[in-house]
Assembly symmetry: C2
Homo-oligomer: 483 residues x 2
């Protein structure tokens, strides 16, 4: 068992860890050198939840199994920098897939007249209602998205048409494909989203960003297959199966799902001494979802290739158990699905549909990819064009995030009664006087930042934040507290 010493140790080689190391090694204000920085990664590859599969497609597509869009295009730093340094070519590599969605529902033949029935406007009003509802009083109890939809209908049902009442829960459930959890697990209070501009789909895959960051990091700065089991914050060292690493500064970028594990869990981290209660409570009060992807490739396009996104709404079930783990394939259309037409996005005729799924469907399908087509086929039959018939896929792929013990899902999600603000306060270290503010133990990752939370650019900025804090602290201040 080896003992290493390093000035800055970074746990995790995902985007936030890579950006931390890159900034430490390249920022003009920094004097850290190659030997000062070490990334310790549990898995056998670099990039974490940024993972582009360039080899599995039978049609030559690249598939991002993790993040695939530049969200918040107006303020997305990764996009801005990548355009400026020419690592991303807007015209060749980017596509704003923001055509109007086309909706289907099992009980309605053909495309649902979504806008004609003004489901778009009523859906908008629902989320505005939610915003106002919680704005009116700080004391309003949180609930789930289906329950607040009930309240909206109770209050304003006399202003709604029968179709609007019938479909509104299904309209609301579209959010499941953003948050990655079933609606009965979506916090109503935090369900209203705000976007800073459009979403740009990255056609070439986000591995370009990993590659770009790696150019500024020495390969020797990264230890793969080193699973961290312990963090001793008193004596400032971590333990992996291969030995001990002592540090001056530590940046913990493991996913929230790992931070939430019991300390004695095989993939959990034992803290010595334990983290302060304020931090563990904040971690407990935030959750982790499972947005998944199921990719079907075909030998022909049997849907309307003018359409970019098909939304297959869920059925009018009682919605009662939609958040419960699945022991077998659910009933048809129990969960809404977003199907992305890659042929339209790539302006070609290579037939691929990428379906976005939410927990618990993601968990089930990722564990049983061989059953995926059986479940999705009857839903996809709705989008078959008149002159065509549905064909069997020539290739089926699923993500594996829920199966991967280092990921355990996709990204942070706010469940009813969660408190998404505390974790930012506790882990971002940005608030003077909060436990972390002068500690050499830092956190980064999509769960530690409010701008770009859950997104690649959020993870990226959180890594930069921590690197800059360490540079300031080490070269310009030297005042350290213990955490």
């Amino acid at each position: 068992m080896s003992v290493k010493e390093v000035k800055v140790c970074i746990i995790g080689a995902g985007i936030s860890g890579l950006k931390t190391a890159h900034t430490l090694l390249n920022d003009p204000r920094s004097k850290f050198t190659k030997d000062d920085v070490l990334i310790v990664e549990g898995q056998d590859y670099i990039g974490g939840r940024v993972l582009t599969d360039k080899t599995s497609s039978k049609l030559g597509y690249s598939y991002d199994l993790g993040g695939a869009w530049f969200h918040d295009a107006l303020t997305n730093v990764v996009l801005k920098e990548s355009i400026e340094d020419k690592s991303f070519d807007l015209n060749k590599d980017g596509y704003f897939d923001d055509l109007e969605h086309v909706y289907y529902h099992n009980d309605h033949k053909g495309e649902l007249p979504y806008n004609k029935w003004r489901l778009n406007k009523v859906g908008e009003e629902l989320f505005k209602f939610i915003e106002i509802y919680y704005y009116e009083s700080l004391d309003r109890k949180d609930m789930n998205l289906l329950e607040i939809t009930d309240i909206y209908i109770e209050r304003y049902g006399d202003r709604l048409t029968p179709e609007q009442i019938k479909y509104l829960h299904q309209v609301a459930r579209y959010s499941e494909l953003w948050f990655g959890v079933a609606s009965d697990k979506i916090s109503a209070k935090y369900s209203a989203m705000s976007h800073e501009g459009r979403n740009l789909y990255n056609l070439k895959g986000f591995s370009f960003l990993v590659d770009k960051l790696l150019k500024g990091i020495f390969r020797e700065n990264i230890l793969l297959n080193h699973k961290v089991s312990k963090i001793n914050r008193a004596d400032k060292y971590i333990e992996t199966q291969h030995g001990t690493i002592k540090f001056d500064y530590l940046v913990v970028t493991v996913p929230l799902s790992i931070l939430k594990l019991p300390q004695d869990h095989e993939y959990g981290i034992t803290w010595e001494p334990k983290l302060p209660a304020s931090m563990t409570e904040a971690i407990d009060k935030m959750s982790f979802g499972a947005l998944g992807k199921v990719i079907f490739e075909f030998d022909n396009i049997w849907w309307d290739n003018e359409i970019e996104r098909f939304v297959l709404l869920s059925e009018d079930l009682d919605n009662k158990d939609i958040g419960e783990p699945l022991k077998s394939l659910p009933k048809k259309s129990k969960y809404p699905i977003l199907a992305i037409n890659y042929a339209a996005m790539h302006k070609n005729e290579k037939a691929s549909l990428v379906l976005l799924t939410q927990s618990p469907l993601t968990d089930y399908v990722e564990a049983h990819p061989e059953e995926a087509w059986e479940y999705f086929k009857p839903m996809l039959e709705q989008i078959v064009t008149k002159d065509k018939k549905i064909s069997e896929p020539i290739n089926v792929m699923t993500t594996k995030w829920t199966q991967n013990p280092y990921a355990r899902g996709s990204y942070s999600a706010v469940l009813p009664n969660d408190d998404p603000e505390s974790i930012i306060v506790q882990l971002s270290g940005e608030l003077e006087g909060v436990a972390l503010s002068h500690s050499p133990i830092r956190f980064a990752g999509e769960h530690t930042i409010s701008e770009g939370d859950g997104c690649i650019h959020g993870a990226y900025m959180s890594g930069q934040r921590e690197a800059e804090w360490i540079i300031n602290n080490f070269f310009f201040s030297k005042k350290l507290a213990k955490l």
Copy 2:
């Protein structure tokens, strides 16, 4: 010349004045009686800018020449109360006219593929950009809507398609039909709108609200044809052409356009002593627009009656002089027009189009209604369906707000470098310590309130606010300062 004495004098019998009187006379906490309250109105009718024309139509329609929608349906107090007291029947009297707009542009044959070209998404992004632009720094200079659109295109033009760049100014100019002024007079800083729910069109006309308020006011409480020329705030009296009225409290509900007039103007009000500079400066720093309506009735429907709203975009002119007063009919499509299809809204076949116009077009057309068809016909030719041809109107009506010396336009509007917050602070009396806070001289109207500004429900709530202040002050406090 008579001398009257009254406890509360209200200048203006619009919605805010009526609501003030109604609350003073009906609130259970109030002990004011018939003789205590007097509304002094310059014009010969009650309602002010709420005015429903029930007689001019040749097709039996009622037309609201002023406000016609319940905006902010989720929080609109007038709507809520009117449903509760059954003065408004949602099913019979209301219509959510929120079908997707259909857009036309002169250089494009037939309906513009607005959503297919993603002009909807780019339009949204433009306004999000504006929000972020001014949020980033308090020091950013205000400019007009066309100029900020230039900045957006300069920064993000590489992410836009040629069509998006070509049409974006025209897309932005749709706002003119909300604000009632040409885009070169729209403050960029305050151009982003936020709505609290959908907009409900009032099919029966807002005169129902005037009638409802009048039921709680004695006819003798209202003096018509009394134009106020002077307010003496030292000795607490006003002067009209018919004599003097002394008051304990005064509620000034005249439109902002009147407050902005020079004191020696025929329709201006002389203040003795002058209003404090903080107030006159606030009044100077807010402007008044001219949203107008032109109504064409026909003997047949020659457009697609499935469409609720046609937007006829402006042409690609240089936009340089669009805000300047017009001396003759402008060039075709110099201004964007919103045409509302009354047949669709009323679910009938009676052919009427209500066109919304902005200043300076409103001013010109209201002054020259006989020229209206000549200007609008070539624009409306775009919406003729294939099997039909355009027919001459059997009836042409225009609003007269810019011609009416008591209105002088439609409602308040924020021009570049205006300060819409100061006037609320100065005239609402809500901020303790500001000049007005303990003064017996009060202000009400759509220009004095931030929630529902420019709207009927805003005017209504401002009237209620002042009545409640007076009730509290008179019956429960008696502490009065002089303004």
